[in-house]
C-alpha cells in the first residue's frame, strides 16, 4: 500500500508578546524622544530647582553653601515683600486678563460686522500684539513720562488736569498704569481668538432665533456665549498663565517700583537671583510660583473637561 505523505499542520508559534502589547510598546517607543526632551528640558530643571531651594546657595558666598531643608521656605513665609508681590501678582494677572477679555470680546464683535475697510482694521488690531514686549514697555514709559510725555500733555491741553501726574512714580497709580499697558497689548490676542470662534458659529442659529423673536442680547447670551465657551476657557486660562510669568513689561517700565508697588512674584524672583545672587531663595520663590501655577492648571484641566463635554 502506497503511503501518502502527510503534511501535518504545525501549530502556530505563540508570539512572545501579544499583538496588543506589541502595538502598545511601539506607541510608547515613538514617545521616547519627546519624553526624553521633556525630561531634559522640564523635569530635570524643576528637580534641580527644588534641590537648590533646599540649600543656602548665595553665589558670592560659596563657603556658606549647605543644606538648610525648608529654611528658604520659612524665610519666604516671613518675608513681607513676598506676600506683597503675591498680592500684586493677583492684581496684575486678573486686572489685566479681565479687561483684555472684555475689550477683546467687544472688538471681536465689532470686527465680525460687515463694513468697508474691515480687512485693514483687522490687520491694524493686531499691531500691539506684534510689537515685542520690551518695546511696548519703552513706548509706554515715554508716553507716561510726567515731564514731557504725551499723555500728560494731552490731558493738560484738554483742561482735564491742572498738575502733571507721575503715572509710574506714584505707588497709587503705577500698578494701574502698567495694567493698562498690558491690557492694550493683550486685547488683540482675545480679539483674534474670539473672532475665529465667532466666524464658526452658524448663521442659521441666529436666523432661527430671530424668527423666534429673540432680542440681540438674548441671541448673544443664549447662542454666542455658550458656543464660544470652549475658546473663552482656553484663551483666558492660557493668558492667565502667561501673564503670571510675564515680567518684561514691569521690568522695563518700573523695575518693580516705586517702593515695590509693581513688584510681582516673577520680577521679585529675578531680583533675588540676579541682584542679590541668592539662588537658594530665588529657587524657593520659583517653586512656589510653580505650585501656584500647578494649582491653577489643575482647576484649568477640570474646566477643560467641561469643554469636552460640551463638544
Amino acid at each position: 500500500m502506497a503511503t501518502v505523505p502527510v503534511t501535518l499542520a504545525r501549530p502556530r508559534t505563540r508570539p512572545l508578546i501579544s499583538w496588543r502589547v506589541h502595538k502598545l510598546l511601539v506607541g510608547y517607543a515613538y514617545l521616547i524622544p519627546a519624553a526624553l526632551c521633556m525630561l531634559a528640558t522640564v523635569v530635570v530643571p524643576i528637580g534641580l530647582a527644588i534641590k537648590m531651594s533646599l540649600y543656602n546657595n548665595v553665589l558670592y558666598k560659596p563657603q556658606d553653601y549647605h543644606f538648610i531643608g525648608l529654611g528658604n521656605y520659612l524665610r519666604l513665609v516671613q518675608d513681607p515683600v513676598f506676600w506683597l508681590t503675591l498680592w500684586n501678582s493677583v492684581v496684575w494677572v486678573f486686572g489685566s486678563v479681565l479687561l483684555q477679555f472684555i475689550a477683546g470680546f467687544a472688538a471681536a464683535l465689532l470686527l465680525q460686522q460687515t463694513f468697508r475697510g474691515r480687512a485693514l482694521v483687522r490687520t491694524l488690531t493686531l499691531l500691539p500684539w506684534i510689537i515685542p514686549g520690551v518695546v511696548v514697555g519703552l513706548i509706554w514709559e515715554w508716553l507716561y513720562q510726567p515731564n514731557y510725555g504725551v499723555i500728560n500733555d494731552l490731558l493738560m491741553r484738554a483742561g482735564l488736569m491742572q498738575e502733571r501726574v507721575a503715572w509710574l512714580s506714584s505707588p497709587d497709580l503705577a500698578m494701574t498704569a502698567v495694567v493698562f499697558t498690558n491690557v492694550w497689548r493683550g486685547i488683540p490676542f482675545f480679539t483674534i481668538m474670539l473672532l475665529a470662534g465667532l466666524q464658526a458659529v452658524p448663521d442659521e442659529l441666529y436666523e432661527a432665533a430671530q424668527v423666534d423673536g429673540a432680542s440681540v442680547l438674548g441671541r448673544f447670551w443664549h447662542i454666542t456665549l455658550p458656543l464660544l465657551r470652549p475658546i473663552i476657557v482656553v484663551a483666558t486660562a492660557t493668558r492667565i498663565i502667561w501673564t503670571f510669568n510675564y515680567a518684561d513689561l514691569i521690568f522695563v517700565m518700573t523695575g518693580g517700583g516705586p517702593a515695590n508697588a509693581t513688584q510681582i512674584t516673577s520680577t521679585y524672583t529675578l531680583v533675588q537671583a540676579y541682584s542679590t545672587l541668592d539662588f537658594g531663595y530665588a529657587s524657593a520663590l520659583s517653586v512656589v510660583l510653580l505650585l501656584v501655577m500647578l494649582a491653577f492648571t489643575a482647576g484649568y484641566l477640570r474646566i477643560t473637561k467641561g469643554v469636552e463635554e460640551i463638544d
Partner: protein, 434 residues
C-alpha cells in the same frame, strides 16, 4: 599716442595709490577702519565681554580692539557686546557654568561679588611689575584691591559732582555758585531754579538704581556721618538720618524735584537736564559728553558736591575695571590687552570720548581734562574722593538694589521717615557683613 596715454594712466593710478597710502597712514589710528587689519595667523584668541554697547562705545571699542590686534601678532581680541542690564547676569551665569570670558569690563562693585565667587584672577604680581603701576592714583588701586590682592585694572574713574545750567543762572539773574558752596546755597539755587508752572525744577533727584542710595549717602558724609566706623555699622547714625531727612525734604517739603523723581534712573535724570526740565543734577563725569550735545558746552558747568553742616563733603569713587577671570584660557593675552588699554593714547582716547576720568595721573593732568569746564567739578572732587563704603562687603551691592532702593523710594514718597528707612536698611546690611 596710445603709449603716452597708457603711461599717463599708469602714472595717474600710481599717484592715486600713493596718495591713498599716505592718507591712510596719516589717519589717526582710532579712525583707521579702512586699513585692512594685519592677519595674525595662529594668534591665540582672547574672549572679552563688554557691556554698555551704545553706538559711541561700540565704535570706540571696535577701533581700540582693532588697534591692539594690529599692534602685535600673538593674540587676537574677540569682543562680545552685552547690554549693560544683562552684563552682570551673563557673567554670573558664565562663571557658574564654568566658562567665563578671559576678560571683562565691569564696575568695581560687581568685581567684589565675582571675587566672592572665587572667580577673579589675582593680578597683584603682574600689576606691581607693570611700568605704569606708580602712575595710577592710589585711590584707584584701592577700588580694585580686596584682601591685599589687586583683582582688576582701573580703566577709568568716576566721581560724583553737580551739573548746573549756567544759561539759566544768567536768565534768572542768579549768582554763580562757587566750588566751596554749602547745602544752604545749594537749596537756595534749587528753589530759584524751580518754576513749576513752566515745568522747571531745581534738582533732578534720582530714585532708581544703585545711585538712588549713594547720592544721599554722599550728603550724609557731608553731615559727618560714615557707613562703617571701626568695623561697626553706623549707616543709621543721627548724622546720617538728619542728612537723609534734609535730602528727602528737597522732594517732600521744598518740592524742587520733578514729580517722577521716585523712579527716575540714570537715563531720566540725564534726559530731564538735557531737555531743560531740571537745572541741576548729581552724577559723575560720564554724562558730560551727552550734555555738551544736549544743552551745549557753554550752557552748563559742574561743581563738587556742596559742603554740609559738618564742614565736610565726600564724593564716592568708583572704577570701571578690566577684570581677568581665574578660568581664563588665555591669561597672558588678557593681560596684554588690559595693559594696552591703559597706555597713553588708548586711555586718553577712551576717557575723552566717554567723558570719564583716567586712572593714570599723568594722563589726568592733560588739558583735555584739567581745562574742560564740564569736567572741572569732577577734577576738583579728587581731594574729597573716597572709595565707596558700600564696597566693603560683597553682599552689600546686591542688597542696595533689592532692598535699599525700594526703601529710598518709600522715603522719597513720604511713606516712611528717613530714620525708618535707614534703620531698616541697617538691619539688612548687618546680615551681609561677612
Amino acid at each position: 599716442m596710445n603709449d603716452r596715454r597708457s603711461r599717463s594712466r599708469r602714472k595717474f593710478l600710481h599717484t592715486l595709490a600713493g596718495a591713498g597710502v599716505i592718507a591712510a597712514t596719516d589717519l589717526p589710528w582710532w579712525e583707521a577702519p579702512f586699513i585692512t587689519p594685519r592677519k595674525a595667523w595662529g594668534a591665540e584668541p582672547v574672549r572679552f565681554q563688554w557691556s554698555v554697547p551704545e553706538p559711541t562705545r561700540i565704535t570706540l571699542m571696535n577701533s581700540l580692539v582693532e588697534r591692539f590686534n594690529q599692534s602685535q601678532k600673538d593674540f587676537v581680541v574677540q569682543i562680545e557686546y552685552v547690554p549693560q542690564a544683562q552684563a552682570r547676569q551673563k557673567l554670573i551665569s558664565a562663571i557658574t557654568g564654568g566658562s567665563p570670558p578671559d576678560l571683562c569690563q565691569a564696575w568695581d562693585n560687581w568685581v567684589g561679588q565675582f571675587n566672592g565667587m572665587g572667580a577673579v584672577e589675582d593680578i597683584t604680581a603682574r600689576a606691581k611689575s607693570w611700568q605704569h603701576y606708580s602712575d595710577v592714583a592710589p585711590t584707584a588701586w584701592q577700588t580694585v584691591t580686596l584682601n591685599n590682592q589687586i583683582i582688576s585694572l582701573p580703566l577709568a574713574l568716576t566721581l560724583d559732582g553737580v551739573y548746573y545750567r549756567t544759561d539759566r543762572l544768567k536768565e534768572l539773574g542768579l549768582k554763580e555758585p562757587t566750588p566751596d558752596w554749602t547745602w544752604d546755597e545749594f537749596l537756595a539755587l534749587a528753589k530759584a531754579f524751580t518754576k513749576i508752572d513752566k515745568n522747571q525744577y531745581g534738582y533732578g533727584m534720582r530714585g532708581g538704581g544703585t545711585w538712588a542710595l549713594l547720592y544721599p549717602s554722599e550728603f550724609a558724609y557731608a553731615n559727618g556721618a560714615v557707613v562703617l566706623e571701626n568695623g561697626k555699622l553706623t549707616v543709621n547714625s543721627k548724622e546720617a538720618v538728619d542728612a537723609f531727612a534734609w535730602y528727602f525734604d528737597l522732594a517732600l517739603k521744598h518740592k524742587v524735584t520733578p514729580p517722577s523723581a521716585a523712579t527716575d534712573g540714570f537715563v531720566e535724570i540725564v534726559e530731564a537736564f538735557g531737555r531743560g526740565v531740571t537745572s541741576m543734577y548729581q552724577h559723575n563725569s560720564g554724562s558730560s559728553g551727552q550734555q555738551k550735545k544736549n544743552v551745549g558746552a557753554d550752557k552748563f558747568a559742574t561743581l563738587p558736591v556742596p559742603i554740609g553742616p559738618a564742614k565736610k563733603r565726600a564724593s564716592f569713587w568708583f572704577s570701571e575695571t578690566l577684570t581677568m577671570f581665574k578660568g581664563a584660557k588665555n591669561k597672558e593675552g588678557a593681560w596684554q590687552f588690559m595693559s594696552f588699554m591703559l597706555e597713553d593714547e588708548p586711555s586718553l582716547k577712551y576717557c575723552t570720548t566717554l567723558g570719564l576720568l583716567p586712572a593714570r595721573k599723568s594722563i589726568l593732568d592733560k588739558p583735555e581734562f584739567s581745562k574742560d569746564p564740564a569736567l572741572a567739578g569732577f577734577v576738583n572732587s579728587f581731594p574729597i574722593g573716597i572709595v565707596s563704603p558700600y564696597l566693603a562687603f560683597p553682599g552689600w551691592g546686591g542688597k542696595i538694589d533689592s532692598d535699599g532702593v525700594p526703601l529710598i523710594q518709600q522715603a522719597m514718597l513720604g511713606k516712611i521717615s528717613a530714620k525708618e528707612c535707614l534703620d531698616r536698611f541697617a538691619e539688612i546690611l548687618k546680615k551681609e557683613m561677612t
